[in-house]
Amino acid sequence: MAEPFLSIQHVRKSFGATTVVEDFNLDVAPGEFVSFLGPSGCGKTTVLRMVAGFEEPSAGKIVVSGKDITRLKPNQRNIGMVFQAYALFPNLTVAQNIGFGLKVAGMPRAAIDSRVAEMLDIIRLPQMADRYPYQLSGGQQQRIALARAIAPKPKLLLLDEPLSALDAKVRISLREEIRSIQKKLGITTIFVTHDQEEALSISDRIAVMYGGKAEQVGTPFEIYNRPATKFVANFVGTLNVLEGKVTDAASGKVQVNTQEVSLKGKLNGSKSGDTLSLALRPEAISLGRQPGHDTSLSGEIAEVHFLGSVIRVRVGIGGNTVSLDTFNNSATPPPVVGEKADISFSSGDMLVLH
């Protein structure tokens, strides 16, 4: 990476005896969109609040554009932020809300009006200038909050679960809008979310967090296809986990139930007799033996859920259950619970979890 725009270095945060963020490191390139993804309590919002200046790190430093901002107050950082609860000022109109930061900065009235109009155009709500927040829907309020955050041309934009309070349809359209505005303005952005689909769909990179640490930082493709840890594999996307036993470490043979699969070159120091967790994404598995798939396992259909365009099938293989989706085909009836079935996949798609 070229010179990072934002650099979070060895940051730790403790509240009393409880450490919520531990040795967190991340470099963000200029104009990059990075998501912090993780379950509640993983420390993602705390890291964001430390970048904003609302919390002071117990150790480590935060550098923006080469300048150490760790001890600066929030109002000295030139950072924009959008909050989960919108946080629009109820006593101010939409235009006054958007112009708030500009007025605080002492910008002349005419310049404020022009910038507010420009922002309203960007978020496609030019007719809302004189409305009050209570007269707007949740999605509109969050777009106004976004306009307010970017109006003063901040160096960095922080988004703290901005879509959580919105309904599903608005959430999807707004996340696309956020990404498109971010690309247009080229503003470096940190996005906090616990929704993996949100993070996968709009991020340049994702930092998956757990227990106050970054478990893995990578592109959505890397995070999904090459999860570094068991937590990442489980948290991001749907995953089938099979328990296997190494029968021949040298040749990569692993026994799943009573059947054998070959995982040559993937066992990374495992010894014969070790028990392993093997992971497979549902989309990597086919029902029946398919050309191009070098591995197959036999089992029994345990559950069949007809979902319209897709049929979700769960196949029992000994003590393991594997979930997979097949497209609905009107010429082929869905599988029947209890009947014998083979599943096949490419051994290259199987992940060994550590």
């Binding site: 904003a52 200046g53 609302f54 107050k73 929030p74 109002n75 950082r77 030139n78 950072i79 924009g80 932020m81 909050f83 609860a85 919108y86 946080a87 629009l88 000022f89 109820p90 006593n91 708030f100 930061g101 605080v104 900065a105 009050y132 927040p133 209570y134 007269q135 707007l136 309020q141 307010r148 955050a149 003063p152």
Partner: protein, 263 residues
């Protein structure tokens, strides 16, 4: 069900009678100054009395200063407690309740002892000093009402997030309090202000013992020496109080509405 409604009406009528009969009797009595006919003579006498005007104006000015002092003390305190020190809220609530359990006479004797002309802080040695002490005393008496009103107002907004939103946009504490917090709790502050006004206008003990030319001592003097005028004054005071309450209601219509709870 029918029997329940009947008793509800009985209770309502009894309550209304308890409230309205003394009021009607006072109004009726205040109109009987001229023998044999109803007249507004008592009101004319009271309103035309230069003492009434002087003492009333004095109390109004004292009330305004008391409200300003109360707002300056209570708004930042209640705001800070909500934002940063919620753990000391019970202690502050207890302190603000003390004026309700400690009689004004105890406070004022304390003041006389502490700030008499021989003390290091001789507030009572001069008229402006005594007036300032009266304002401070009234601000103390109004504390339970002002604090509760402001605290209730702060409860209706998300103080922390609004503060952080303003901070990240570059605002300092002065801007946050004056442009974000105060406008959103203005109606609550006004409620506290009107309650303070009502307390100050009728207060007797402090004004009398500090020897201030306030409306309370004037009222007491009139009651002791006249028949019809005190009744007229009571009605005037009643109208002022209800006027204040109506103003609170009218102003609350202009309160900023919460974005999450449209009302």
């Amino acid at each position: 069900m029918k029997s329940g409604r009947f008793w509800a009406w009985v209770v309502f009528v009894l309550g209304a009678a308890y409230f309205f009969i003394p009021l009607i009797a006072t109004i009726e009595f205040s109109l009987r100054m001229r023998r044999g006919v109803y007249s507004l003579d008592a009101y004319k006498v009271v309103l035309g009395d230069s003492q009434f005007q002087a003492t009333f104006m004095f109390s109004v000015v004292v009330a305004i200063f008391t409200i300003l002092l109360g707002v300056l003390i209570v708004v930042p305190t209640a705001y800070w407690i909500r934002l940063r020190m919620p753990q000391i809220r019970p202690i502050v609530e207890f302190i603000t309740l003390l004026p309700l359990v400690i009689p004004a006479i105890v406070i004022v004797f304390g003041y006389i002892r502490m700030y008499g002309s021989n003390s290091p802080l001789p507030f009572l040695a001069t008229n402006p000093g005594a007036n300032a002490l009266l304002v401070i005393g009234y601000a103390t008496l109004a504390l339970p009402y002002m604090y509760r009103a402001v605290d209730t107002g702060l409860r209706t907004i998300d103080v922390r997030t609004l503060t952080e939103a303003a901070q990240i946009l570059g605002a300092g504490w002065g801007t946050i309090i004056s442009r974000v917090i105060l406008p959103n709790v203005l109606i609550a502050v006004l409620s506290g202000a009107f309650l303070t006004f009502a307390i100050v206008i009728g207060e007797f003990t402090m004004a009398s013992l500090l020897n201030r030319p306030a409306f309370g001592p004037y009222l007491q003097n009139l009651v002791a020496n006249r028949a019809y005028e005190p009744a007229a004054l009571s009605i005037i005071a009643f109208v002022i109080t209800w006027g204040c309450m109506s103003l609170i209601q009218i102003l609350s219509r202009f309160a900023p509405k919460s974005a999450n709870r449209p009302n």
